[in-house]
């Protein structure tokens, strides 16, 4: 009996240590990542610690490539794509470090003009990265804004959002509902007071337009043919096609075509 207790206590101490080890990155987590994702990042960071705590050069470059790709894809697709939280978290960390480096270097302003030029190049690149992230996040928020009722009632789409984005949706939707209520909804008969009423002739829900035309480039030779009515489009590698999003979306997901 006593031994059992001792064992349990031992385990408690262990798990206590474990959670305190994990909590600092979790509480300072700016992007609202789940525990699993932060663990992944920790593992990743630990693996490469001997060289650079923020990843090897190849990893950093791959991340920037992925960010650029995600940004283009997010801007082109009418619906919200799965969030790239883990990627953003890694890049934001590096951005933060880069800003610190710039601040340090610009304080010890030596007459050496090479430092100035170096800083100028670093800052230009940094501004570009910051622009990519900002534009990426704002495009997502705009998509949420334009179809708030739709996203509110679509659990599948909500899974594509980060925690911050879900918070944003909930709060913004509440504000809009409140505005509608005070401007006119309160005077409506009860049967009309629903916000997400999509039955009948005039749907009250603004949905993303899945038939929005998009430009894509075929990057893999699949030999597939898409048939639209009497027309057909063959997906040949290298060709560029304008097509409805709803038709091409599965090839975007499989990576056979990319947005341009």
């Amino acid at each position: 009996m006593e031994e059992d207790n001792l064992d349990l206590e031992g385990m408690d101490i262990h798990s206590g240590l474990d959670s305190s080890f994990h909590s600092p990155p979790h509480t300072s987590d700016p992007a609202g990542l789940s525990m699993d994702e932060t663990d992944d990042i920790d593992d990743l960071i630990n693996n490469v610690r001997p060289h650079d705590p923020l990843g090897t050069l190849e990893e950093k470059e791959a991340d920037i490539k992925e960010l650029t790709h995600s940004w283009v894809t997010e801007r082109m697709s009418p619906t919200l794509l799965p969030t790239k939280e883990a990627l953003l978290f890694r890049i934001l960390k590096r951005v933060q470090l880069q800003i610190e480096v710039i601040e340090e270097k610009s304080i010890d302003m030596s007459p050496d003009t090479d430092v100035k030029l170096e800083l100028l190049i670093v800052e230009t690149e940094l501004e570009r990265i910051k622009y990519l992230i900002r534009s990426y996040l704002r495009v997502r928020l705009l998509k949420i804004d334009n179809s708030m009722e739709y996203y509110q009632s679509s659990p599948l789409d909500r899974m594509n959002m980060s925690q911050t984005e879900r918070m944003y949706l909930n709060r913004h939707y509440a504000l809009l509902k409140n505005l509608y209520a005070h401007q006119f909804m309160n005077t409506f008969p009860d049967s009309l007071k629903q916000m997400n009423d999509s039955s009948g002739s005039a749907s009250m829900v603004q949905e993303p337009n899945m038939d929005h035309p998009v430009f894509v480039r075929v990057v893999k030779d699949t030999g597939r043919k898409i048939i639209i009515g009497n027309d057909s489009v063959k997906l040949r590698k290298g060709s560029i096609v304008v097509i409805k999003y709803s038709i091409i979306v599965k090839y975007v997901e499989s990576g056979d075509v990319v947005f341009i």
Binding site: P30, A31, G32, L92, V95, Q96, I99, I102, E103, S106, I107, M109, L120, E123, T124, E127, R128, K130, Y131, I133, R134, S135, L137, R138, L141, D145, N146, T164, M167, Y168, R171, H172, L175, L176, N178, L179, Y180, H182, Q183, F184, T187, F188, P189, S191, L192, G200, S201, A202, M204, Q206
Partner: protein
Amino acid sequence: MLGDTALKLVHDSRRTAALDLLPAYQEELVRGVCREIRQLDASINKTQDEPGYDPQDRVAHCNLLVQHLAMRRDKRCLLAYQFTRARRMNEAAWKQTEEPNLNGNEQEYMKAYEDLIVDIKGPYTDIDLTGSLEPPNDVFIDVRVLQSVGEVQTEYGVFNLEKDSQFFVRRSDVQTLLLQGYLKEI
């Protein structure tokens, strides 16, 4: 005719798209549409409550259907009208500009939305979510001072912004002064 007032709201929204600022809120029209909705609802209830009402009667059925559709159309127009305005208020809140022609409820909405933007910016302080959505070109620019500002502290030291002087500065450091017209890019 049914739906005429609502159509005027739609035209107003259409016109708004071409304007730089939101026009005044169409209080009268909105109230008119709400009144029409209540009248239609009352009329529907009255028909259904009449002693001789027969749900199988095709004429009565058609009459009810038209009134239902008109009511829903009215509601859709109101939502579209207000959403158009809300979207412009959102844009203004992100750009930190003013919309002078809002009614009381709209002012409250915009203020609350501005608070929400402040909160959503929090996790991304290094990025500045309210920053420009134009791709950056020059990080550093030459500016001429049009109106004396006094001393401005930046990471590259202190600038004394006297009228007619010129400086090579970081764009993001002087963005606000540029917008306010104190400085001019050259």
